[in-house]
């Protein structure tokens, strides 16, 4: 039986701002891009959430919902420092940490000896130490796998702790809405609802065979999750599949020539980002174009040494798909996975 923690800081960026600037406390606050540009909300505090503001919403819309919302620009460097402090506290309990973002991580404490090996007490200790040393509240879920731990951390948010004991898994999962399952977004949820599947209990009534027939290989995954099973290990470092950079322009780029003018600075930024990355080989190049009507397209080509001409060619190809003003351009490298592309010696007996 594994012991997995999922830890998530409560409205992280906003919480850091409220910690550092007392005047932001108790009023609706959001961190994000400005509303007159095309900014979006990165995080907002609970006061703002009461007005229906949420992350990834455009700042303009957030201000319409909550006109007295205080909108501040993010201070990424500060958040990164705070994040390091929080992860340093996590590392007192285990080295098996899988970061999901600056404020969110899975921890495998199955073999940790701290707190006599009690995962619940480790979670309590982490929460107390983050509050005392960093001045922020984190919510933690404790369970026997990643899927349950993640749901648990959200259960008593903010400033909450939720433990799902092995003997509780059965009952806990039974009433869980399917929309809470990892990998089930809006579309899949609709599909499940249409078939009368609203909770994990509903899925459990169906055989694995039926789930496979109706939903393919994802059906098997759903079947496992609905039974509270999730064998995914806590991965210490996530493999990068690509590296990219993109820019949303204040005003739409009217034509291909305007897009081409912007390409060199994007490539330069990409090259710098790639240089900071270690141990990855380039497998191909990609260009992303988001048009004024919000449709977007990505063009990709395999090449171990992409040059500017290749990016130009990809841009041309991508732009031509709709041939209209462009609001966002992105360039990236597809990366070779470690071990991938390595020669494989074929075997005689197999």
């Amino acid at each position: 039986m594994r012991k997995i923690l999922h830890s998530d800081a409560d409205c992280f960026y906003a919480a850091v701002e409220m910690r550092d600037f007392p005047q932001y406390r108790g009023i609706p606050l959001a961190v994000g891009g400005s509303a007159d540009g095309r900014g979006v909300i990165a995080t907002c505090n609970y006061e703002a959430r009461a007005y229906g503001v949420h992350s990834a919403m455009s700042s303009a819309r957030a201000l319409r919902l909550c006109p007295h919302l205080t909108l501040v620009r993010g201070r990424m460097d500060v958040y990164k420092t705070v994040s390091r402090q929080i992860f340093d506290i996590y590392r007192r309990y285990t080295d098996l940490i899988e970061p999901l973002s600056l404020d969110e991580a899975f921890m495998d404490v199955s073999h940790s000896t701290a707190c006599q090996g009690s995962a619940t007490r480790m979670a309590e200790a982490i929460r107390a130490q983050v509050l005392a040393e960093v001045g922020l509240t984190v919510s933690i879920g404790v369970a026997s796998n990643k899927f349950l731990a993640k749901i648990a951390s959200d259960w008593n948010k903010p400033d909450g702790l939720k433990v799902i004991l092995p003997q509780e898994v059965e009952a806990f999962v039974h009433d869980l809405p399917v929309s809470k399952l990892h990998g089930v977004g809006k579309r899949t949820a609709e599909k499940l609802h249409a078939q009368g599947l609203f909770t994990c209990g509903d899925i459990r009534k169906l055989s694995l065979q039926t789930m496979l027939e109706r939903f393919g290989s994802f059906g098997q995954r759903l079947h496992e999750l609905a039974h509270g099973r999730d064998e995914r290990p806590v991965k210490v470092s996530r493999e990068r599949k690509s590296i990219s950079t993109e820019h949303t322009y204040r005003e739409d780029l009217p034509d291909l020539a305007a897009c081409q003018d912007r390409l060199p600075e994007l490539i330069e930024d990409l090259t710098a980002r790639y240089a900071r990355l270690q141990g990855y080989r380039i497998q191909g190049a990609l260009v992303k174009v988001k048009f004024a009507d919000f449709t977007q397209t990505t063009v990709e080509h395999s090449h171990p040494k992409p040059d500017d001409a290749l990016f130009e060619q990809l841009l041309q190809e991508g732009w031509a798909r709709r041939a209209m003003p462009v609001r966002l351009l992105g360039v990236g490298y597809r990366l070779q996975q470690p071990g991938e592309g390595a020669p494989t010696q074929l075997k005689l007996f197999e």
Binding site: Q345, L346, L348, F349
Partner: protein
């Protein structure tokens, strides 16, 4: 009791016998060599309980009486090696010690009781085969390189010895490449397959000479014994099932390439310098009349070689671990080599163009 023996008569057999003795031992006496003198023969025995080598040294001066003693193998060998050539050695017992004197040199060596020296017990039922030493040596030499080293598939860490269809065959494989060699036997042979452990193969190889005089092979359920004039070598057999090697020897392979062996070996050896040090991959591209060898490494260095070959047909492109190819070319004696291949995913058959008694199979590498 005095035993006289010349350094020259003792040195080589002692070297072979001490070679069997392991450096680290669970039993103290296994670090010793057993010396037994009787009449005009001195017998040396070394063992690690898996293999045992007995050497017979003729004595010019017969031993005055039967004498058995064990002496530290390594030290005795080092002393013999470092004494001057043509020295006469004299052994004499002094209680628990043995005194070795030669000219003005005197060495007092510790002993362990000869009665405690273990000997490998072989069972009775045995089949026997006589073949010329040179023939056995040839088929062992042709295949040893392909044996696995410390593979978890323990049955690959050795050599298959097979008696079948009036042939004695040796087969070795590490799972990536395979070597097979055969010699005809005049006697009808019983169908039997045994796996000789790696160490057993290498030690047996040492006592065989390139001569027509026969070696007597004795097979029991658990042991193989090889006897030549001066030596008797015994090894335990590996208890395991060797893979069905005949299944992986390609019968098809429509693309036949004939190349000058030495030129090909040189080309591969050079190109290998710029191959990836870890994977050792090279890409071979065969077109009519030409074999191209390409290699590159993570430093982006590149090697290209072209060699005229005898080939007509479609272009064949296939990758290999260059070491596997070089190993095969080193084992082949003739001037020309024949390579039969089908495609980049199928095994290639390599052999001496003029000799079908040894076959080599190499699996490609996907680059």
């Amino acid at each position: 009791m005095n035993l006289n023996v010349s350094r020259e008569a003792l040195l080589k057999p002692l070297q072979f016998v001490a070679g069997v003795v392991e450096k680290r031992n669970t039993l103290a006496i296994l670090a010793n060599v057993l010396l037994e003198a009787e009449g005009d023969t001195l017998t040396l025995t070394g063992t690690d309980l898996e293999v045992e080598l007995v050497a017979r040294v003729p004595l010019e001066t017969p031993a005055p009486q039967a004498w058995r003693v064990t002496l530290p193998a390594r030290k005795l060998l080092d002393l013999c090696k470092s004494l001057p050539a043509e020295s006469q050695l004299q052994f004499s017992s002094e209680g628990e010690r043995v005194l070795l004197t030669s000219g003005r040199s005197r060495y007092s060596l510790s002993t362990l009781p000869a009665t405690e020296f273990p000997n490998i017990q072989t069972d009775e039922q045995a089949s026997e085969l006589f073949i010329p030493q040179s023939a056995l040596l040839r088929i062992i030499d042709a295949t040893t390189f392909a044996m696995a080293v410390q593979d978890v598939r323990y049955y690959l860490n050795g050599m298959l010895l097979e008696l079948k269809d009036r042939q004695l065959r040796t087969v070795a494989t590490d799972g990536h490449r395979l070597a097979m060699a055969a010699v005809n036997s005049e006697d009808p042979v019983p169908g039997v397959q045994v796996i000789v452990p790696r160490k057993g193969v290498l030690e047996m190889q040492r006592i065989l000479e390139d001569t027509d005089s026969p070696v007597r092979l004795t097979l029991t359920t658990n042991h193989l014994r090889a006897t030549v004039e001066q030596y008797t070598f015994t090894t335990k057999l590996v208890d395991g099932k060797f893979p069905d090697y005949e299944r992986v020897i390609p019968r098809g392979g429509d693309k036949e390439i004939v190349a000058d062996k030495d030129s090909l070996r040189l080309v591969l050896t050079r190109a290998a310098i710029l191959s990836n040090e870890k994977y050792r991959g090279v890409r071979l591209t065969v077109t009519s009349g030409n074999l191209q060898v390409l290699a590159n490494n993570p430093e982006q260095e590149e090697a290209e070689e072209n060699l005229p070959v005898d080939y007509e047909g479609e272009t064949l492109e296939v990758g290999f671990n260059v070491n596997y190819l070089i190993d095969v070319l080193n084992a082949i004696k003739g001037e020309q080599v024949l390579i039969k291949a089908a495609d980049a995913n199928s095994s290639a058959l390599v052999r001496d163009f003029d000799d079908e008694t040894a076959l080599y199979v190499v699996m490609p590498m996907r680059l």
